[in-house]
């Protein structure tokens, strides 16, 4: 009897996977903290230009987004390949920008309406004609605070200097 028992004990015990949830939870928390919810489904391609003089948009609740770019391949049959404006989830005409912005603004508390920023997320290849039209629309509805959404430049030289 004792002989048999000894044989059993020699089998390798199962690898404990108890720490696996911990690892996954750690990843999960990292993602929860480091990312933001996707607000809209992008129907246009937005390859942002890069710049160095960038500022962070502090108050997310006071921002209204306008996307500009060429429609993605799935939508090209419907909207063509020329750059278009996307408001919320829909591709819209430039003339609708003003109305859209006033609607967003009416949802904001009155005291803070003047602080609303319109973030223009445009593709680098878009022509300025379209952007100027949007800016004119924004001026018409008195939404003057704007932000050209850009990516930070990875400036190797500057990084080197700051490390010195």
């Amino acid at each position: 009897m004792s002989h048999i028992k000894k044989e059993k004990a020699r089998e390798t015990p199962a690898v404990s996977t108890a720490s696996l949830p911990d690892i996954v939870f750690m990843l999960l928390f990292f993602f929860m903290v480091a990312t933001t919810m996707r607000e809209v489904e992008l129907k246009v391609t937005v390859g942002k230009p890069s710049a160095t003089e960038i500022q962070k948009l502090e108050r997310k609740d006071l921002v209204c987004y306008v996307y500009v770019g060429a429609p993605k391949t799935d939508y090209q049959a419907k909207f063509g390949t020329e750059p278009r404006v996307q408001l919320d989830d829909q591709i819209a005409a430039v003339s609708e920008v003003g109305f859209f912005v006033t609607q967003v603004r009416s949802d904001i508390a009155e005291a803070e309406q003047s602080k609303m920023t319109v973030s223009i997320k445009a593709d680098g290849n878009v022509k300025m004609g379209l952007i100027s039209d949007i800016k004119q629309e924004l001026r018409q509805v008195n939404a003057l605070l704007i932000n050209y959404s850009t990516q930070p430049v990875v400036d190797a030289e500057k990084m080197f200097e700051s490390n010195m």
């Binding site: 999960l28 993602f31 948009l57 680098g124 300025m128 952007i131 800016k135 932000n147 850009t150 930070p152």
Partner: protein
């Protein structure tokens, strides 16, 4: 009749990993990494009856930057590369023609701006200009102001402009930090103007 003490059954945590994975994948799919950053600008309001300001500003106080449809730069009627733009904009702002700016170290050239408060940079772009180019030009001009402010802050307080700005943000009103920030902005006010869009081909 003492019973044998029962062992507490171990809870099987095997499915916990699955649940966590499910949540993780959900977050991976529904969120994005990009942070909202960009160039903050203020558009001029539309005025019905335009005041004739244009006549009051002397020609030499305007730094004219024009970008054409081929993304070429024309600065003060001369062709220029974008790499030279920042330097020449700084020279223009810091020129101090009338000697009223105490902090400026400019050349006091009679053909350039009187002082930073009067120096206006005007950008005009064509409808065919690419947005990329426009953003880089705006960025360079804003960088010129940033560099001048940095210099001033370093000279006076040994800190860069961003630090001064951060300090002012947290400080109470009428504190020293706020005054410093105000002073810098007074010496070098950011005067970037955009010409009314022209629909020239």
């Amino acid at each position: 009749m003492a019973r044998k003490k029962r062992e507490i059954a171990e809870i099987n945590a095997g499915s916990m990993a699955d649940i966590a994975f499910l949540l993780l994948i959900f977050f991976l799919v529904t969120t994005t990494m990009d942070i909202d950053k960009g160039l903050n600008r203020l558009l001029p309001p539309i005025e019905e009856d335009k005041p004739e300001i244009q006549d009051q500003i002397k020609e030499k106080n305007i730094f004219v930057v024009v970008i054409n449809a081929n993304n070429q730069l024309l600065v003060e009627n001369e062709y220029m590369e974008i790499s030279e733009l920042r330097e020449s904009a700084m020279e223009f702002i810091d020129n101090n023609g009338d000697g009223s700016c105490m902090e400026c170290g400019g050349d006091q050239s009679p053909t350039s701006s009187d002082n930073p408060k009067k120096a206006i940079i005007s950008i005009s772009s064509d409808r065919g200009t690419s947005y990329d180019m426009y953003v880089s030009v705006t960025n360079e001009l804003m960088a010129a102001y940033h560099e001048l402010r940095d210099d001033l802050c370093m000279r006076k307080w040994g800190k860069d402009y961003d630090t001064i700005k951060e300090e002012a943000k947290d400080a109470e009103d009428d504190s020293e930090a706020k005054d410093r920030y105000k002073y810098v902005q007074e010496v070098y006010p950011l005067l970037l103007s955009e010409a009314e869009p022209k629909s020239v081909g």
